[in-house]
């Protein structure tokens, strides 16, 4: 396939298939003499070689979206065809890199152009001159199948880059290079197949808009552990699943995305800053080299790829940025890695789609969005998945998309259509954010459809009944939500004691468990074990308190218990590796309850 593409592009250059612009409207230009061109073909516009992509053909007029500013172009300016689709280069050197929406390394652009991004910079994603240590994993004569590892490269101390047999290729190894230093364009292996021989280099080129399917899709069954308590313990996401984070501005979408990118137990993180703030990307660039991966203790940047197409960069490249990101994700997935991809924000991507549709004078449907918005969203989210990528090897892509609904209104088209294609919905609530309750994930509007699979995982891996504990906590929170409506009218003191106890326990859950401080060294990450123990402790607290209140103990005695503050602060006081301290808290709690029980009995005796 790849070889064919290359040939075709050579032919076009030889023939010099050059055409000219005849109309311009913002980032959209029209070129004539394009009868031979293909939709989705990559073209270069003007002698500055601005990258563009054909999105429509009408007779011999092609409509092209240009990935850079079109100021200064005019009729007659040449358009150069390539005969190839818009693609991304893949190979060692991606990790730790910062790319723009069409996969140009931003550091390289800076070297060439300075502080600002000018036009027409040619910057290859993968460095051709750098040498990598390639260690073969097969020998001549070995039979190989798709997805099998041919050789490995230590790309970073925590990530081994694997060169695998391409999809659809199987046969015998006819040659393989010995361990040594090679550039990405050198041949490292040759496979003898039924249809001739296939040479393998470390450099690949994949079209970004085409899904690269899993060899065998499987049901997501393992949670993506994020260290965020409200997520892992109440509304989990499976590896290979898809989630959305909708929230108005100031609700904390970006901070949450940063937390997920920092602490998720994925092997590779792809973070797409899609139409967002420049300073936020700088923040990630500053923080990630300093933050340590909780599992390996190495800087997070050693497993992260950033794609930064900020709000002021070309809107067309914003549209392509999520495809660039997910294609890179598929590449690492096929090596047998678990990839987590964060897109912040998919609304900005949808707006880019809308803007281009508007320039094409397409019929708008809802809020100006084109009719194909849901189809595009589905295509993107369906590229998430868990499955087999080679013999006995599994990989996944988990997609987490932030959604920025205008006015914080979740009924708008992007939020509504996204909901159809994801299974975990973390709804951010502005009111929680105003009260500085972070993460501001509403426990009322949020849902996860992975509960059955995750319950199985907790049972098998952690040997605990997570499902009932979760259900119990959620029912306390939902009853509290109902009671709050009454409290608004009559005040809390007018409620009966058992209901006031629910309010009290709910506030322990909210402040002591759900609120999580991203700035606190201990609080910002919790293991599943700690999360379960914390909730279990709160459940035990409720059991004993309930009995006492039923027995006639005034509620204020429960509210004034000394152990309350311990339950509220265990999230930041008890480190993940010192969970025995929770035993001490439990003991203290039981003692205090014993004393309350005694006092209740004595007062009963007195009465009697």
């Amino acid at each position: 396939m790849a070889t064919k593409d290359r040939e075709r592009s050579d032919v076009t250059t030889r023939k010099g298939l050059i055409t000219g612009i005849n109309a311009i409207n913002g980032p959209v230009v029209k070129g004539s003499g394009m009868a031979e061109a293909n939709v989705m073909e990559l073209v270069y516009v003007s002698d500055e070689r601005l990258a563009g992509e054909i999105i429509n053909i009408d007779g011999d007029i092609a409509t092209i979206q240009v990935y850079e500013d079109t100021t200064g172009l005019g009729p007659g300016v040449p358009i150069y065809r390539t005969g190839r689709p818009l693609s991304v280069e893949l190979g060692p050197g991606l990790i730790g890199n910062v790319l723009d929406g069409i996969a140009r390394p931003l550091n390289l652009i800076r070297e060439k152009q300075g502080v600002f991004i000018g036009r027409g910079v040619q910057a290859e994603t993968i460095d051709r001159s750098k040498k990598w240590t390639f260690a073969p994993q097969v020998k001549v004569g070995d039979a190989v199948v798709p997805g099998q590892v041919l050789g490995t490269i230590p790309e970073t101390p925590i990530l081994e880059h694997r060169i695998v047999v391409p999809q659809g290729v199987s046969g015998k190894i006819s040659s393989i290079v010995p361990e040594g230093e090679y550039t990405v364009t050198e041949h490292v292996a040759e496979i003898e197949t039924e249809n001739g021989s296939e040479t393998v280099t470390m450099l690949k080129e994949w079209p970004v808009r085409r899904t690269h399917p899993l060899q065998k899709r499987m049901k997501p069954s393992v949670p993506l552990i994020t260290g965020q308590r409200v997520i892992d313990a109440l509304f989990p996401l499976a590896k290979g699943g898809a989630a959305a984070i909708p929230g108005g501005f100031g609700a904390g979408k970006t901070v949450l995305q940063h937390q997920l990118a920092s602490w998720s137990d994925a092997d590779v993180i792809i973070y797409i800053g899609c139409g967002e703030r420049g300073n936020e990307m700088t923040d990630v660039l500053n923080e990630f080299p300093k933050l340590k991966d909780p599992r390996s203790g190495r800087p997070l940047m050693e497993r992260t790829i950033l794609i930064a197409n900020t709000s002021n960069m070309p809107v067309t490249a914003r549209e392509s940025s999520i495809y660039t990101g997910v294609t890179i994700g598929e590449y690492f997935r096929d090596m047998g890695y678990h990839v987590a991809l964060m897109a912040d924000s998919t609304s900005r991507w949808a707006e880019a789609v809308r803007e281009i549709a508007g320039r094409l004078e397409e019929m708008p449907v809802e809020e100006g969005f084109p009719a194909y918005l849901p189809a595009r969203l589905a295509e993107f989210y369906e590229r998430a998945g868990y499955g087999e990528v080679g013999p006995e090897r599994y990989g996944s892509i988990t997609i987490i998309g932030a959604v920025s609904p205008p006015g914080g209104d979740f009924t708008e088209p992007v939020t509504q259509n996204t909901k159809r294609f994801i299974r975990t919905f973390w709804a951010l609530d502005k009111r929680l954010a105003f009260a500085r309750h972070f993460p501001a994930i509403s426990w009322i509007d949020t849902y996860s459809e992975y509960i059955d699979e995750m319950a199985k995982w907790w049972k098998e891996e952690k040997k605990v009944d997570w499902r009932s504990l979760r259900q119990r906590m959620l029912s306390v929170l939902s009853r509290e939500n109902e009671l709050q409506k009454i409290v608004q009218i009559i005040g809390p003191d007018a409620l009966p004691s058992d209901q006031r106890l629910i309010l009290h326990v709910a506030s322990l859950i909210k402040e002591g468990f759900l609120q999580q401080n991203a700035m606190d060294d201990i609080d910002r990450y919790s293991t599943p074990e700690k999360e379960f123990r914390m909730l279990d402790l709160i459940a035990k607290y409720e059991d004993r308190a309930e009995k006492l209140v039923q027995g006639g103990l005034p509620i204020y005695r429960i509210q004034e218990m000394k152990v309350n503050i311990k339950l509220l602060t265990m999230k930041q006081e008890v480190a993940d590796d010192k969970l025995e301290e929770l035993d001490a808290i439990e003991q203290e709690m039981n003692q205090e309850f014993d004393e309350l029980e005694k006092s209740l009995v004595t007062s009963d005796e007195k009465k009697g």
Partner: protein
């Protein structure tokens, strides 16, 4: 440019757009001069090219155009502005022509007003705290040098007074360098522009101010370029001349309305409230021209003023602004009616860059937690007030009554400060004074050591 033809007659005039047929060698974004039937020269920009037909957006309006007599001359270049330090102390119109009677600056280089996007890897993350002397900002929504924070306001609220006060009082504690002000007026009233000029003069800062004035009765389409001209100058002063630039832009809603006017004339697909779908990208192309970059000592801090029609924060202009800027300062009509100045609604206000610019080594070690606690406690006050309005204050628990006291003190003393200029220490001490009205058990967001150090410090000092 040789070979630049003069086109006599235009094919069609539609709102701010004129269509010219039979053009050659026109480029997208190019500046054109349009001469009216009466010989008046106006400027415009090429907005659409379709074969040999070109649509030009005319900045000064299309009155007095006729299809037969109007002449169009293409300049061969995009819109530029001449930038130099000579511009300081000067007043220009919305397209960069002098308004103060003096000749245009002689020296300087021509720069494209659209600028270019700052490469995200060339940015320096903003961290230096700007002391505005206003407690609600310094204490709880700290402004950082290189940040963009809009003021969300509505008619009748003192946003101009607040912006002027920030401009007057802004300092970096411990640094000598002063701010240079770029003031951008888009469709504002003569009185408002005069108010700002007066303020700058009074504070003796006039020679450090560049003003770009497009007033309410100036051509509205001109507003679409005014902020671009101004920001090009700001970028020059900050990144070429290493100055700290504070850009005040008012009023963004007028700017967006002008943009909508052009979009409607062009037939763009309307989205919410008729604004074009690219409003977000367009606003971002202004707001993102803020920050600090590697290799320069200077910075650009932006304070755009956004008036919210109907005081509706979900209106597209404040909504999209909030998605781009690094926080917002929201003014509240209710506080204003109570005579509180500045009437800043702290709960919906936010500073996204605050987390890295406050605390130990920046302001004071207790700052993050005090801010957090003030937020939490004041949010609780709102809930209790709601309950109290139904069941009556007498029915509230003792603790809740203390919250109400705290809320009153917070609004009357912490928020309400008039023209006082407070240091960050004064602000934080006042914050503690408010928190002292609450029982210590309620202060769960403060650290034990901080409570020991600051809580009831004032009271202890007073007792012999």
């Amino acid at each position: 440019m040789n070979g630049r033809r003069i086109h006599l007659g235009v094919a069609r005039v539609s709102g701010p757009l004129v269509f010219v047929k039979g053009t050659e060698n026109v480029s997208y974004g190019e500046i054109a001069e349009v001469v009216t039937s009466f010989g008046e020269v106006r400027r415009g920009r090429v907005l659409i090219i379709d074969g040999d037909t070109v649509a030009i957006q005319v900045f000064e309006g299309t009155s007095d155009f006729s299809s037969a007599d109007t002449k169009v001359r293409f300049s061969g270049h995009s819109l530029t502005v001449k930038v130099s330090e000579e511009m300081l102390g000067r007043v220009f119109d919305g397209t960069g022509r002098p308004l103060d009677g003096a000749p245009p600056p002689i020296s300087g280089e021509e720069r494209d007003i659209n600028g270019a996007a700052i490469n995200p890897v060339s940015r320096v993350y903003p961290k230096n705290f700007i002391q505005t002397g206003i407690s609600a900002i310094d204490g709880m929504n700290t402004l950082i040098r290189g940040q963009k924070v809009p003021i969300f306001s509505s008619s009748g609220l003192p946003h101009n007074r607040l912006a002027a006060q920030i401009v007057r009082q802004a300092t970096i504690p411990g640094e000598e360098s002063e701010f240079v002000i770029v003031f951008v007026a888009m469709g504002v009233k003569h009185d408002d522009a005069a108010y700002f000029e007066e303020t700058f003069r009074e504070s003796g800062a006039l020679e450090n101010v560049v003003m770009f004035l497009n007033l309410a009765d100036d051509p509205s389409i001109e507003r679409t370029i005014t902020p671009r001209v101004a920001l090009t100058v700001a970028e020059y002063l900050a990144f070429d001349r290493d100055k700290h630039v504070l850009v005040v832009m008012t009023d963004m809603t007028n700017y967006c309305e002008a943009l909508r006017e052009v979009a409607t004339a062009r037939g763009d697909v309307p989205t919410r409230k008729g604004y074009p779908g690219y409003l977000y990208s367009d606003l971002a192309s202004l707001y993102e021209r803020t920050g600090r970059v590697i290799g320069s000592e200077g910075s650009i801090t932006q304070i755009p003023i956004v008036s919210m029609p109907n005081n509706d924060i979900t209106h597209p202009v404040p909504d999209l602004t909030g998605y781009i800027t690094e926080g917002q300062i929201v003014l509240d009509p209710k506080l204003h009616r109570q005579g509180i100045y500045p009437p800043i609604a702290v709960l919906p206000s936010l500073s996204r860059l605050m987390k890295d610019g406050i605390g130990e080594g920046f302001t004071r070690e207790d700052h993050p937690n005090v801010a957090n606690q003030l937020y939490g406690s004041y949010a609780r006050v709102q809930q209790i007030r709601n309950i109290a309005s139904i069941i009556g204050e007498e029915e509230l628990s003792e603790v809740d009554k203390k919250y109400l006291k705290f809320g009153d003190f917070f609004e009357k003393h912490f928020l309400n400060q008039g023209d006082e200029n407070r240091t960050i220490d004064e602000t934080l001490d006042l914050g503690w004074k408010a928190l002292e009205l609450l029982p210590v058990e309620e202060l769960s967001r403060l650290k034990k050591a901080q409570i020991e150090k600051y809580y009831k410090k004032g009271a202890n000092d007073a007792t012999p």
